[in-house]
């Protein structure tokens, strides 16, 4: 059961997933993959919420997770639309090729 595994294990796992996501955001150049990494980060946080909530026996966590998922969906819609607009203009989704703004 859940109680048999200490909370720290869950939190450690989610921290690792979060770190993988964060590293992915910083190293990858493809906008879609960066976005997927961000989703990974959000899911790591969801895991944290769920496990903490379950540990405390408190309903705040799952509710939060539902909202995070909804927000992530909204973000996905907007984000993909932006990537699409970019692809129409530049025929690329690589962020290092998008560099008109600089000083």
């Amino acid at each position: 059961m859940l109680e048999s595994i200490p909370l720290e294990y869950y939190l450690g796992l989610s921290a690792i997933i979060f770190a993988i996501g964060a590293v992915g955001v910083m190293t990858r150049k493809n906008a879609i993959i960066i976005f997927m990494s961000i989703e990974l980060m959000l899911n790591a946080v969801n895991l944290t919420f769920i496990s903490i909530s379950s540990f405390f026996g408190n309903t705040g966590g799952p509710i939060f997770v539902l909202f995070v998922m909804a927000v992530a969906a909204a973000e996905a819609a907007v984000g993909l639309a932006i990537v699409l607009a970019l692809f129409r203009l530049k025929k690329t989704v690589y962020v290092d090729e998008v560099n008109t703004l600089k000083w």
Binding site: L11, F18, G21, A22, V25, A31, I34, F35, I38, M41, L42, A44, V45, T48, F49, I52, F56, N58, G60, G61, I63, F64, F67, V68, V71, A74, E75, V78, G79, A81, I82, V83, A85, L86, L89, K90, V95, V98, N99, T100, L101, K102, W103
Partner: protein
Amino acid sequence: MNQEVFLAMPVFLISAFAVLIVVLDAVSGKNKTINFAFGIFSLLATAGAAIYTLTLQVPKLVNPADYHDIFTITKNTMVFSSYSAYFDILFSLAGILTMLASRSFISKGYHEYKEYYSIIILAVAGMVYISHANNLLMLFIGIELMSIMFYILSGYFRQRIESVESALKYFLLGSFASGFLLYGMALVYGATSSLELNVIAQFIAKNNFNATYLTFGIALLLIGLSFKIAAFPFHQWAPDVYQGAPTTVTAFMSTAGKAAAIFSFIIIAKALMPSFTNNAMRLVSTETMQMILAVLSAATMLIGNITAISQKNIKRMLAYSSVAHAGYMLMGVVANNQLGYDGIIFYATSYLFMQIGAFIVLSVLENKDSSNINLDNFTGLRKSNPYLAALMAIFMFSLAGLPPFAGFFGKYYLFLAAIQSGYTWLTIVAVISSVISVYFYIGLIVYMFFKDSDNPIAKAELKLSSVSLFVCLIGVLLFGFFPSLLMNLYAIIK
């Protein structure tokens, strides 16, 4: 109970209007004026409701640890203080000023879609949620609602690569930052087992929490929020986004958006940096956090102002200067006392007027593809657009913090607050960085007034923007000459 319905009115109204205006989009056909008018009306109504709540006896910005279950209808997810109501007014005002200026601007640059106005209303709704949040979830939803609307707005000129690029950068970095913010919230939740800020504050006051989680949680929250207000070292997105986004959108984002982000900073700081606890059990004490924030604030204003000097594009220059202004506002959070929060309120208000004013002047003068907002394009503006040049000069002086304009008093109160809480060195850094900032603010004036050009920017048509500009001018002058009007407004309310 009854009173609370009135107190919650701004939130209810803006939520209802945000839904209604989306519906209106669907049914109004080709008529854009209806949406525009409805948008203005809903913001006015929200502001009106907020002004009404100010007349009720509401707490100013109470310590989260002090309020017990007083806000029953929203189950403690929201708080109705006079600060919240004041910020509601500010956000609505920013929305109105932006919408008035946007009408001719967006049709000049691209095409006027009526959804533009709905998005602004939705963004204001997000900000209003932030200003009333007493729950981490509420805060998160507010921040995300506002941010997602900003992503869309910055990419509004979708045929223009700069606009789309800025939207992409903003989107990627913004959601990256949201990840940190969210993780921080999760850890704070883990440390205290509650999402409600007043409960969290009580746990912290009683030293009843898990120190490791809380420390990491606070650190991650700081990173996430620093991203949102564009503080050093997470400020790099701001110049790109502010430059690429449509100018009126930049005006909105860099004022109301920044004020909302700073407000969430205040909420978090209020709950997590109680000045009255002994912090024996905490890894990060309030003093350390203040110190970290002070260093961030000092670095933010120095970097912002120094980098702004070398900019050739005025929009980018103002973007860097807005980074610096985030640094000034952080001083109030660092001070962590009433004077500091009052100072932030004053600063946010005066900053709203001068920054929106400056961006609107830019938006009016811009050509179709926004290629004429470099410093040399403004050469000789005195001749072709004397009144716009004079307005811009006033906004620049105010941004530089010279009396008798509103910007001076804003800075002045923040300096007082920082000195009062013992951060004299931070004040000295702030003073030095404002002297540095004077260089580029008056540099623009040199171009506009002192140099002559053969082909200055043609005389601009103001249309509805003139109303916005007039309001901004009045704000900058009125609160410059009579700052006590504003300061006593919310002193009396208490």
